[in-house]
Symmetry: C2
Subunit: 149 residues, 2 copies
């Protein structure tokens, strides 16, 4: 059992690494068919002629997998991981055969000025594949509880 974390347990610069998640062409197409039905996410031939130059996962699939990894094997936050907002960048596309892993760093801790029991942690999370290629950068404001005893 890992004890869940409160805002007071974190320091700027703390790092957390997740487990891994592999995706193949079928998984890329299945997600895209529901949530991002564009030719370069659905079909190898169409993708070869696109800006991507080959089948690429929807950026929203990379984001969703990143969330899965953080929730199931990243830092365990008391009360759960609830985001207030974030910034996303996708420097490179996620490809069939990629194995994703996330490393998060605590950028900032912001105890609430008005509520002694809560605050915000700013987390920068990098999603990379097995070659170390940077696929996504997520900078998120995540709500956290404070230790009140």
């Amino acid at each position: 059992m890992i004890e869940p974390l409160y805002l007071d347990d974190l320091r700027v610069g703390d790092r957390f690494t997740t487990g891994e998640y592999a995706l193949d062409a079928e998984a890329i197409k299945a997600f895209a068919a529901v949530y991002d039905p564009q030719p370069f996410h659905l079909d190898e031939v169409a993708a070869a002629d696109s800006l991507f130059g080959g089948l690429a996962a929807s950026g929203w699939q990379t984001a969703a997998i990143t969330m899965r990894l953080m929730v199931t094997s990243g830092m365990k936050i008391a009360g759960g991981q609830i985001g207030a907002g974030c910034e996303l960048q996708w420097p490179r596309p996620t490809r069939p055969g990629d194995v994703l892993r996330v490393e998060s760093e605590v950028l900032e801790l912001r105890p609430s000025a008005t509520r002694a029991d809560r605050g915000i942690v700013v987390l920068r999370s990098e999603t990379r594949n097995q070659h170390g290629d940077l696929l996504m950068v997520l900078t998120a404001k995540v709500m956290m509880q404070r230790r009140t005893t």
Copy 2:
């Protein structure tokens, strides 16, 4: 047939509205089981005791549905809708029974300084439910082609 849009076709302030997408408790739980397995997205009883006070969709599901709506019934972009990066806010949770719709506005047009055939449009997209509640705000930098003839 709607003609696909190039950067040159847009003006700041142009607006685009999508169709609708309904989601129920089963859809919320199914997405969460794969991508955001936290109690408040998976179980009504656990959710009642959480910060959400009841079952709530993962913010990544709201984002993915927003993308689906924009791709299938929003502005049609020549070459497809490819984001370079974005900001997301979730002012309110998406709930079972919500029917989502997206309205996008062109905030900014940035022709590339070095490549005459492309540029970036900054789009602000609001995702609302059938009651008009604002669920998500997406401000995205989307790549666009220019008319070169």
